[in-house]
């Protein structure tokens, strides 16, 4: 099957000599919901910029649904919708005009572009704002406007660069639902985000990029299997003066009603709870201290930095 996105040996060196991408290769299959994760400055936005031709690559090849972006840029661009990190529309234009014009740039006649604009604005809860100048919208509305704009030409591949940055939780959840819908309808989605619970909730596959290199490229499920330990926070009904001592478990007091416990992969929780019960500690709730993917991500990036420092020495 032809990949929705195929990147081969992509490099990017900026004019000042900074090497943002060091020969990355990546394939995203049609219909996938793919996370591209990495710390700030890792090369995520550079990769996206090159795919949608806002940046010039130094070397390598990019194909979108088998179409080379160098030799058939027009056809390739027809298949890409992009939601950038920064707002990049005219603040003085009206919402409906921004989307209709974007359709025009893809050769879509005004009538059809307006129909599609209405469809997506309604789905994203912006139809009432269609005649409002973009500068009057809230941050969350502006993000949704950029999603509607990116979809007006019905692209097969939608690239979202931190689409929910600065968006409140309720709105973020509704955007997740919308993205799940369009992914279910067949649109391949590539998502970069700093909210790792977002990637864990939405995406099936993931690539982690750091210092211009892909350090991991696998499915979210496989990635989470690599998680060797998790830290849980346990809340109890009574007051605690010190963390309960439980054989084979490391515990640490957080406050008078809660403590955290480290649980190794494969370790049974029965022993933990029976030990706590025998000490008269009544557990009322339990939760992950951090998002599971976040723990893995931090460990991988730290390892990569450590390796880089060793190679430097």
């Amino acid at each position: 099957m032809t990949a929705a996105l195929s990147i081969r040996n992509l490099t990017k060196t900026y004019g000042d000599g900074f090497q943002a991408l060091k020969g990355i290769s990546l394939e995203v299959q049609p219909g996938d919901f793919f996370a591209l994760l990495g710390p700030n400055g890792a090369g995520k936005s550079t990769t996206i910029g090159i795919i949608c031709s806002l940046l010039r690559k130094t070397s390598g090849a990019v194909e979108v649904f088998g179409i080379d972006t160098d030799t058939h840029f027009s056809q390739a661009k027809m298949n890409i919708g992009v939601v950038p990190q920064e707002f990049n529309f005219s603040m003085f234009e009206k919402v409906l005009d921004i989307i209709t014009q974007q359709g025009g740039y893809y050769g879509i006649p005004v009538k059809l572009a307006r129909e599609r604009a209405e469809k997506y604005l309604r789905q994203l809860g912006l139809w009432d704002k269609r005649n409002t100048p973009a500068r009057m919208l809230s941050g969350g509305m502006k993000r949704r406007l950029m999603i509607a704009r990116a979809l007006v030409h019905n692209p097969g591949l939608l690239i979202l660069d931190e689409p929910t940055a600065g968006v409140d939780i309720e709105l973020r959840r509704s955007m997740w639902d919308f993205l799940k819908q369009i992914n279910a309808a067949g649109t391949t989605i590539i998502l970069t985000t700093h909210y790792l619970e977002e990637a864990e909730s939405l995406c099936r596959n993931v690539a982690i990029i750091d210092h211009g290199e892909i350090i991991k490229n696998t499915s979210i499920r496989e990635l989470l299997k690599e998680l060797n330990r998790e830290v849980f926070i346990l809340d109890c009904s009574g007051e605690l003066t010190e963390a309960p001592a439980v054989p084979e478990f490391q515990t640490r007091l957080l406050d008078e009603h809660s403590f955290e416990v480290e649980i190794e992969k494969g370790q049974s929780l029965n022993g933990l709870f029976s030990a706590l019960s025998s000490q008269g500690v009544n557990i009322v709730s339990m939760r992950n201290k951090a998002n599971r993917l976040e723990e893995l991500f931090m460990a991988m990036v730290a390892n990569n930095q450590h390796r880089g420092q060793q190679e430097g020495e």
Partner: protein
């Protein structure tokens, strides 16, 4: 993109540009109309009556073609510089750069938008001038050709200025320090016959002199320059600037890192 899709893209871009300058007509259409009306009152009525005839016409008839041309070229230029630079500044130019719209359509779209404003303001100034004097037309073909080419040339020049501009100051330097002096010394208010031979030679180095005089020839039938060569020269300049602007777009100069 097939030709029909390219046509839709061009139509979209041009109509967007026209909507932009008509939406802010108080900034774009009204000021040149007021400025030119003042020129007509001062140079035409108050001072012009004391100057007497020039080139066989009343002074106001002599200056009107130059003032129309001045309005056309400055507005064509400033429309494209401000529009394209704003698009760069707000990053809305990325809407175009990520789209399959070919570079020549992007260039044409901005230039036709600039020409629309230049020619629109030119029409307003022409209509205003009719309150002060009658305006004969000696040769319609020359009038239409020279005004269209001039508007295109300055729209292209404005585009190139906007590509290189990094700040709003950069888009006002050329109009203030280059365009305005060249226009004022380009035979708008006087015939170069009034100058000494040396200064006539200097004046002939000014490209705006050829545009103003060719336009004046189209309206009044008098000119200080060879009209045919002026039009040929203008066509060459338009083609050259179009190629340069297209190269800058293709290369992504100051647009793509």
């Amino acid at each position: 993109m097939n030709y029909q899709e390219q046509w839709v893209a061009l139509y979209t871009l041009v109509s967007k540009e026209i909507r932009r300058f008509t939406r802010i007509w108080v900034q774009t259409l009204l000021p040149p109309a007021i400025t030119m009306a003042l020129y007509f009152v001062i140079f035409g009525k108050l001072i012009g009556s004391r100057i007497g005839d020039m080139g066989g016409f009343t002074y106001i008839q002599f200056v009107v073609p130059g003032l129309i041309m001045m309005a056309v070229l400055t507005n064509s230029y400033s429309n494209v510089t401000s529009s394209f630079f704003s698009a760069k500044f707000q990053r809305s130019v990325e809407e175009l750069l990520v789209s399959p719209t070919p570079n020549y359509i992007i260039l044409l779209g901005f230039c036709l938008g600039g020409m629309a404003r230049g020619l629109g303001v030119g029409a307003i100034v022409t209509a205003l001038s009719l309150f002060f004097t009658s305006l004969p037309v000696h040769n319609w073909a020359v009038v239409v050709t020279i005004v269209t080419l001039t508007a295109m040339l300055f729209a292209l020049a404005g585009f190139i200025n906007a590509v290189f501009a990094n700040t709003f100051d950069d888009i006002s330097i050329v109009p203030t320090f280059v365009l305005t002096p060249l226009t004022y010394l380009g035979g708008v208010f006087f015939s170069i016959d009034l100058l000494s031979e040396f200064w006539q030679g200097v004046a002939r180095l000014n490209p705006i002199l050829y545009m103003v005089n060719t336009f004046r020839y189209g309206l009044l039938g008098v000119s200080d320059v060879n009209v045919t060569w002026a039009i040929v020269g203008l066509v060459v300049c338009v083609v050259a600037l179009f190629i340069i602007a297209l190269y800058l777009l293709k290369n992504g100069t100051r647009l793509r890192a």
